[in-house]
């Protein structure tokens, strides 16, 4: 299979969760790729598999979840094939992650300085104490009073401070890829803008690639170079930010954009008809067909594959000369 991104290339990724209600087919053949230093936004409704995708990149899916199949190339290694011990060398040093709830993602009984130092000590194989100068530097970089914050405990931090600490922790090991899972969703709007700006500035200086998970189109449009739209466990459209907003192809993307309010737009906001399908028993074929205004017979039979319609623009939809057969 042709390599699509030189940093990360995920194809046909399938993840399921075994629950008492049945098997949740959370990811149904996700396609996603990124180049070095690039910023990709993954958008979609709640439950579409954005966060599961993010966690899968580092193989952090825990029981009752399981990665069934797929290929997950990070540089030249398939992360789904390597040993857990080799994966640990990548986690936290080559790929790091920022979570949605900064306060609860920090260990409540360890000081902030210690928790950041721990990551660096793990990466550089040194004693934790030796990393304190580097930690202080990093905390200053994210705009915190390092001397004070170093010895503070997570419950003493405000949400904004905690997210700055998370960013410091995520960027301290200078990872090639930073995964930010809804980094601003739990914060006040004013703080959101500050955090986003900080992240933007730091990543620009350090040159990390960022995989940004968000349900907020505005955040992604402002921050990312490329956008991947997901629906019910599938990648449905991928394009540069500009192309996606100017010329969305997939009916779901079109619906999604019409549901976002914009200043100066007169026409009514349109919600997409219907609801997200239950992933225990998803509809056959294209998972969007029940809500789609352009549905045809073929849509109900087989899932369309993810095909290129122009440079940097991919769609999974039969409206664009699709042969079908991309995941079942």
């Amino acid at each position: 299979m042709k390599r699509r991104g030189d940093l990360l290339d995920i194809s046909a990724l399938k993840v399921v969760f075994y629950t008492y209600r049945g098997v949740i087919k959370a990811l149904n053949g996700v396609e996603l790729w990124m180049n070095r230093g690039e910023r990709l936004g993954v958008v979609g409704e709640t439950g579409c598999g954005k966060s599961v995708t993010a966690k899968s990149v580092m193989r952090l899916i825990e029981e009752p979840g399981k990665i069934l199949s797929g290929r997950l190339l990070f540089e030249d290694k398939d992360l789904l094939q390597i040993q857990e011990s080799d994966l640990r060398q990548i986690r936290g040093s080559e790929i790091s992650m920022i979570f949605q709830e900064p306060n609860s993602s920090l260990n409540p009984v360890m000081s902030v300085g210690f928790q950041i130092a721990e990551v660096l000590a793990e990466k550089n194989k040194t004693k934790i104490k030796k990393q304190y100068p580097a930690v202080a530097e990093m905390l200053e970089l994210v705009g915190l009073d390092a001397e004070r914050v170093m010895t503070m405990y997570p419950h003493e931090l405000s949400g904004g401070m905690a997210q700055r600490v998370m960013i410091a922790m995520g960027l301290a090991p200078k990872p090639k890829l930073l995964i930010a899972d809804e980094p601003t969703s739990a914060l006040d709007v004013t703080i959101q803008a500050q955090i986003l700006e900080l992240l933007d500035q730091l990543v620009r200086e350090m040159g990390n690639a960022v995989l940004m998970i968000s349900h907020d189109m505005g955040v992604v449009a402002e921050f990312c170079d490329k956008i991947m739209v997901m629906y019910a466990g599938n990648s449905v459209e991928y394009a540069t930010t500009e192309k996606l907003f100017k010329n969305p192809r997939h009916p779901y993307t079109k619906g999604l954009l019409q549901a976002v309010p914009r200043i100066g737009r007169i026409e009514e906001l349109k919600a997409i008809k219907g609801t997200v399908p239950d992933l225990v028993s998803p509809p056959p074929g294209c998972r969007f067909h029940k809500r789609c205004p352009h549905m045809t017979a073929v849509c109900q039979k087989e899932h369309p594959s993810f095909i290129q319609v122009e440079d940097d623009h991919y769609v999974a939809c039969y409206l664009f000369g699709n042969e079908g057969g991309g995941g079942h």
């Binding site: 966690k55 580092m58 952090l60 825990e62 029981e63 640990r88 060398q89 990548i90 986690r91 936290g92 040093s93 790091s96 992650m97 979570f99 709830e101 609860s104 993602s105 920090l106 260990n107 409540p108 009984v109 000081s111 721990e118 990551v119 793990e122 990466k123 405990y153 419950h155 003493e156 922790m169």
Partner: protein, 327 residues
Amino acid sequence: MRYLLRRLGFLLFTGWAALSINFILPHLMPGDPAQVMIAKFQGRLNPQALKALSDAFGLTADKSLFVKYLEYWQRIFSGDLGFSLTYYPAKVTEVLADAIPWTIGLVGLGTIIAFTLGTLLGIISAWKRNSPLADILVPTALFFNSIPYFWLSLLMLYLLAYQLEWFPLGGGFDVFAIMGIWDKVGSIVYHAILPLTTIVITAMGGWLLTMRNNMMSVLADDYIIFARAKGLSDRRIKYKYAARNAILPSFTGFSMALGFVIGGSLLTEVVFSYPGLGYILYQSVISLDYPLMQAIFLFISLAVLLANFMADFIYAILDPRVKEGGE
């Protein structure tokens, strides 16, 4: 600091309340201790001697309750807890001094072993929650935790000591043999094995289940998965992150249990005729030995309160969140 001062104030207040209740309770009970005494020494002492005795015990009936209360405090601070009626003419303090080492040795050690083993197994059973080991550990712990400990004592005593004669029937050591120091230590260990085993077996399950529950809920917390994302080793996550945080609630229970050690494991000591505080307490209750009873209750309440205070103190070191929160 403010947190600790507040805890100290609380300790003093509850200490006062506990000791006062300890004073009042025997006086509310039916039956006059002085009469019990007289009955006990019937025909062996003349009335003048009895009067002198009951004065010495502070049991004279013609004093008001308030005067007796003041005298009670005076005696507590001077360390004079009177004479034991059962072990007369031994002083209560002497009886206690003889019994305390036995109880601390047996029940204290048993509690510590049970806590350590139970907690370790709890960590393992939560960490490997779908392994066969965990599947066996949990129902086994539940089973032993539900067994009444005196029943297990009786069973072990009957089977291992009476039928098989592997172990002695009771006591703290062999009182009849004349022995060197090492033989005596050996004899003490030999006598302690059965009661210690029953205590460990019946107490361990509770610690295991508590730790397992705490650990399961901690393992579901965001910071555990975040720790994995940070690339920390499984070992570090298991002990430094999960177990370290999960042990906090268990720790409070453990401190309380250490406080209750002073009370002895009453029925275990009774079944094995072990010369500890539990056995003495039992003796004092059936013979209405108020001075001894009161002294034992006093020690139990003080030990529990002190253990509680120590737990608060150490908890503040272990969990930075309690220092400011307080209320």
